[in-house]
């Protein structure tokens, strides 16, 4: 369990983290989602005692990070997979961590196997690692001490699709055994794939949180994609019901939720062949919620570059 309470961190006039409060529960993978510079990394550095907070506090399992003895045994941390000595081999990096935490050397081999780094790869120096390999090594390092909490900053960055799938399996498995996972990303797709819950942050503030369903359910006026045997009749019926429609591919995009569209169709006895929330609902939500922190302007249809 991670609890962040009213956390604030300022740099001069700039408030990097602004009164942030959230909780990560055991048995869940919590995604920390926001554009670059939204305050994700700063929040995570404060969590692990690397940056002092100006106000508020963070507890992990009820303790301040600083008060956890041998923290590597309780909290696995990966803040930057490249923040390792470029001249050390992957194996040596893990061996140093295992030694410090008081773990048997065999733990290094176990972790290397877990993250699928081969024996040959483990003897290469970090500077020769791809970003994806560094992330795998970083995950291995975070898991060394068999912690019950994982704090991972952009762990999927640099992983190929197969790597992301692997990480999803790894973290799902980990959380199902009761572990708490907080992972950050600026990519919605990654978080959508891996996380059970999401916390959206923009310009230092939490803008929304919950499961994907909760986030979309709370969204007023979510659009619907609909297809029918008789599109012209459906268009007429929907327009008559006062709903905004626009053509979208073979079907229609309706600015209303699927239930409203379904009711209109049922009343007119029109056969629907497809009825679902419009694609990109979460993505649009994310972009809108964090709009003032994006470098591109956002239109209802998406991003206008």
């Amino acid at each position: 369990m991670i609890r962040v309470m009213s956390l604030t961190k300022r740099y001069g006039d700039f408030t990097a983290v602004d009164d942030v409060t959230f909780t990560c529960r055991p048995g869940r993978v919590t995604g920390f989602l926001g554009p670059n510079g939204a305050g994700k990394t700063t929040t995570m550095r404060v969590m692990t005692g690397l940056t002092p907070a100006d106000a508020g506090e963070v507890t992990i399992g009820g303790h301040h990070y600083r008060d956890i003895p041998n923290p590597g045994r309780h909290v696995g941390v990966l803040l930057d997979a490249s923040a390792q000595h470029a001249g050390r081999t992957g194996r040596e990096i893990l061996a140093l961590g295992a030694k410090l935490m008081g773990l048997p050397a065999s733990r290094v081999d176990e972790m290397l196997e877990l993250v699928s780094l081969s024996d040959v790869e483990s003897k290469r120096r970090l500077r020769n690692y791809s970003l994806g390999m560094r992330q795998r090594l970083g995950i291995a390092h975070a898991l060394l001490g068999d912690p019950s909490v994982l704090i991972l900053d952009e762990p999927a960055n640099g992983l190929d699709p197969a790597g992301i799938r692997w990480m999803r399996g790894l973290l799902k498995d980990y959380s199902e055994r009761g572990g708490t996972v907080l992972l950050s990303s600026h990519l919605l797709n990654e978080v959508e794939l891996i996380a059970d819950e999401m916390i959206l942050i923009g310009r230092g503030k939490i803008v929304a949180s919950g499961t994907k369903q909760q986030l979309l359910a709370g969204r007023a006026g979510g659009a619907t994609h609909v297809m029918a045997l008789d599109i012209p009749s459906l268009s007429t019926a929907l327009s008559a019901a006062g709903l905004d429609i626009s053509p979208a591919g073979e079907g229609l995009r309706v600015e209303a939720d699927p239930v409203a569209v379904g009711k209109v169709a049922a009343a007119k006895q029109l056969v629907l062949t497809d009825l679902r929330p419009a694609e990109g609902g979460l993505e649009n939500l994310f972009l809108e919620l964090t709009a003032d922190t994006q470098r591109e302007s956002v239109t209802p249809e998406g991003v206008a570059v």
Partner: protein, 287 residues
Amino acid sequence: MTAPAVNTAVNGVVDPALDRVPSIDVSSTQQVPFGRLVSVELRKMTDTRAGRWLLGITLGVLVVAAGIVVIISLFDEQFSMTLSDWQGMLTFLTTMLVPTLAIMSVTQEWSQRTGLVTFALEPHRIRVILSKLVAVTLLALITLVLAAVIAVAGHAALAVTGVDVSWSVDGTDLAWTFYLQMVYFLMAFGLAMAILNTPGSIVVYYLVALILPNIVYGAVYFLLSWGPDVVPWIDLSYAVGAFRGEMPEVPSGTPDLGVGPILSTLVIWVVLPMGIGLRRILRAELK
């Protein structure tokens, strides 16, 4: 468009009952023992190419220097060298390169950004710094022992080649050699703490440890009117020299400054940089 309501069951309003009882039991976990921190820091100094090369080259330089002395003795009938001379020469050679390891032990945490990991695994930064200090002190002791072993071997070689050697050791002189060696390593460590940058620390160290004493201080002492008043208080080897019975060139009538210069040089080159550095490191944000 309005933002979705925050799910209060999970986030937002904090349920005071949640997590009141710590959900992680740390009572059976021991703090990382200090000795383990030290051994990890020692390993970190020697597990990179830079570390191994510095140690290897230093060992090579010591052996070559000893060899050159022995060869010279073959051609010089008047050749004489005491064990203290040996130890002094070889120890000085170790101060050329090995303090770089002391510097990198600190600065790498910033330049290679390993501090992100180091200080996450041991959030009590003072313990990390103290463990590095102990590791660096051990390294300095090891170089002294290494120099002593090669000194004895070289001296024995002189005896074999027919030089009339004495095996007596000037204890006082040896003690000052040890003292200076420690001060050089601690100075390198302190400068690194204050500067937190590898090239910068190395440049300043060589400036202070080699260039100033060997080129600048002498000139200042003899050429500038205020030289004799200032140099003794800032020059490490001058401060020590008075106690080793060296410095024959000191003009007669120079007042005996006692341990004053020893203390002032210690404060200027070790205590002050370490103090500034400690303040920086304890407050620094790891990025």
